[in-house]
């Protein structure tokens, strides 16, 4: 299912959890290629030989020796994981990280991009201010034509043997692509697929509380949509269950994922029917990525599913 995986790394300990998942996946799916990809810095100007280090901001001179040194560092960092992976290739490029990651993914027709959620080692307390706005992860998730697997925490369940996939939907067009990915993944590995929708009763947008009758109506409507949009497209696949909860969507998704011992949460990149080029990372998926104990796959388009 994941013949060509691109693991985009800052080559620092912040990506260790993502590295583990990327190598595990490549091993599990016997991937044809695992690219371990690092962009060391931004060009300072034009065809300059200098780059500004993406992490420290220091100016560095790009030379074959410098590139070789980066490769050595990457080999040291991922040496242990690379031992069992013959199809792994280390690649470095200079440029704007998100652009280069997308370019690399496009050129090599990768099926999955694996990334860490942060570029810095974060305190949990600090994450509320930093979130992912403007980050490479956000830009890659927005533009990628293949699913982007975002790892923000150590994977405590064994992802390479994952057995519970939660697909959280808002019934948008983008969610349709996410569903396709979730179904294929569940079918491929024999995982149970949980189709989940949270009826948003926060009432914040409407400026008023929603009463019980309205909630029940919306739950029924959601159940009907589940059948029409997803169950009808499942064919023979019967290892699934449907749940509709009410509450604040990201809280309910996290609660449900925990309840079901989810190994993977699949969501659309954004939550409204807008052009993917214009879409911001939805606040719901952002909140889920931030707190989820298991990997979150953000799916934007059906192109590479």
């Amino acid at each position: 299912m994941f013949e060509r995986i691109l693991f985009a790394t800052t080559a620092s300990p912040t990506c260790d959890d993502a590295a583990k998942v990327a190598f595990d996946l490549a091993d599990k799916y016997d991937s044809e290629k695992l690219f371990v990809f690092h962009v060391p810095g931004f060009p300072t100007r034009g065809y300059s030989q200098f780059v500004r280090d993406a992490r420290t901001g220091e100016e560095e001179q790009i030379s074959p020796e410098y590139t070789e040194w980066i490769h050595e560092e990457m080999k040291n960092t991922y040496g242990e994981l690379m031992k069992g992976s013959e199809n792994c290739e280390l690649v470095t490029r200079v440029g704007v990280p998100s652009t280069e990651i997308l370019r690399m993914a496009r050129e090599n027709e990768v099926n999955l991009i694996v990334m860490g959620a942060h570029t810095r080692q974060e305190d949990v307390g600090a994450t509320r201010f930093r979130k992912f706005s403007g980050s490479n992860m956000r830009k890659v998730a927005q533009r990628a034509r293949c699913p982007v697997l975002i790892i923000s925490r150590p994977c405590t369940t064994c992802f390479k043997l994952f057995s519970h996939i939660v697909f959280a939907t808002d019934f948008s067009k983008a969610a349709g692509s996410a569903f396709q990915f979730a179904l294929e993944a569940a079918d491929d590995v024999g995982a149970r697929l949980y189709l989940f929708h949270a009826v948003d009763i926060s009432g914040l947008h409407a400026g008023k509380d929603v009463d019980q009758t309205q909630i029940e109506q919306r739950v029924k409507a959601a159940e009907k949509k589940m059948q029409e949009k997803y169950v009808s497209k499942m064919g023979d696949f019967d290892n699934y269950e449907i749940a509709i909860w009410e509450g604040l969507p990201y809280v309910e998704i996290l609660k449900y994922a925990r309840d079901k011992q989810a190994d993977l949460v699949v969501m659309a990149h954004h939550t409204k029917d807008v052009d993917p080029e214009d879409a911001e990372l939805g606040s719901t998926v952002e909140q889920v990525v931030l707190r989820s104990a298991c990997p979150v796959a953000s799916v934007n388009r059906p192109d590479k599913l």
């Binding site: 901001g57 949990v124 307390g125 403007g134 519970h164 024999g190 809280v251 011992q261 707190r291």
Partner: protein
């Protein structure tokens, strides 16, 4: 003057007696913790003053988990206490230079500080809670951190712990179907 004490039984003490009526006015007050204050005391406070439950969307589900837990003995081996700290961090790169102020709740074991994200809430309830210092991190230098005495308001206390607990959703175990 504007000092309140958070009691082990969940009460909020001001001027020697438990506050009655709307507690919101005390959110900006400085807190001190009663002897033997536990994480469980925090949830008892939320029950005694339900208006605080609206401060975080996870409170309702966490109170359910607290109710489903044993009344005592909910401790994590080797974890001496939980410490709420405050950090002022000057950041130079990436992005524009900025300063961020945030709280952190961490586990303490002897002299060691440890992250608690992977520990279930049910294993933390009877762990003592204490107030820590303010750390000043300059431009990413986490080796030479300045530490200062500081104070916490009731809002910082409630919100700081709630934010951290919002990350405690780790599945208990891996249930493989195959």
């Amino acid at each position: 003057m504007n000092l309140i004490t958070l009691a082990k039984d969940g009460g909020i003490i001001h001027g020697g007696k438990a506050i009655e009526g709307d507690p919101l006015v005390h959110l900006a007050y400085q807190v001190e913790l009663d002897e033997g204050y536990l994480l469980r005391s925090y949830f008892k406070m939320l029950e005694q003053y339900p208006v605080f439950q609206g401060l975080n969307p996870f409170f309702v589900s966490y109170l359910e988990r607290v109710h489903a837990s044993p009344d005592h003995g909910c401790e994590y081996p080797g974890l001496e206490c939980l410490e709420l700290g405050k950090t002022v961090e000057m950041i130079g790169y990436p992005g524009k230079p900025r300063m961020e102020i945030y709280t952190t709740l961490r586990g303490v074991n002897g002299g060691d500080v440890t992250d608690i994200d992977s520990i279930q809430l049910e294993s933390l309830l009877d762990t003592p809670v204490r107030l820590g210092k303010l750390k000043h991190v300059v431009l990413g230098d986490k080796m030479d951190i300045f530490e200062f005495q500081t104070v916490f308001t009731l809002f910082e206390f409630i919100d700081g712990i709630a934010w951290q607990l919002g990350f405690h959703g780790t599945p208990v175990e891996c249930q493989l179907r195959r």
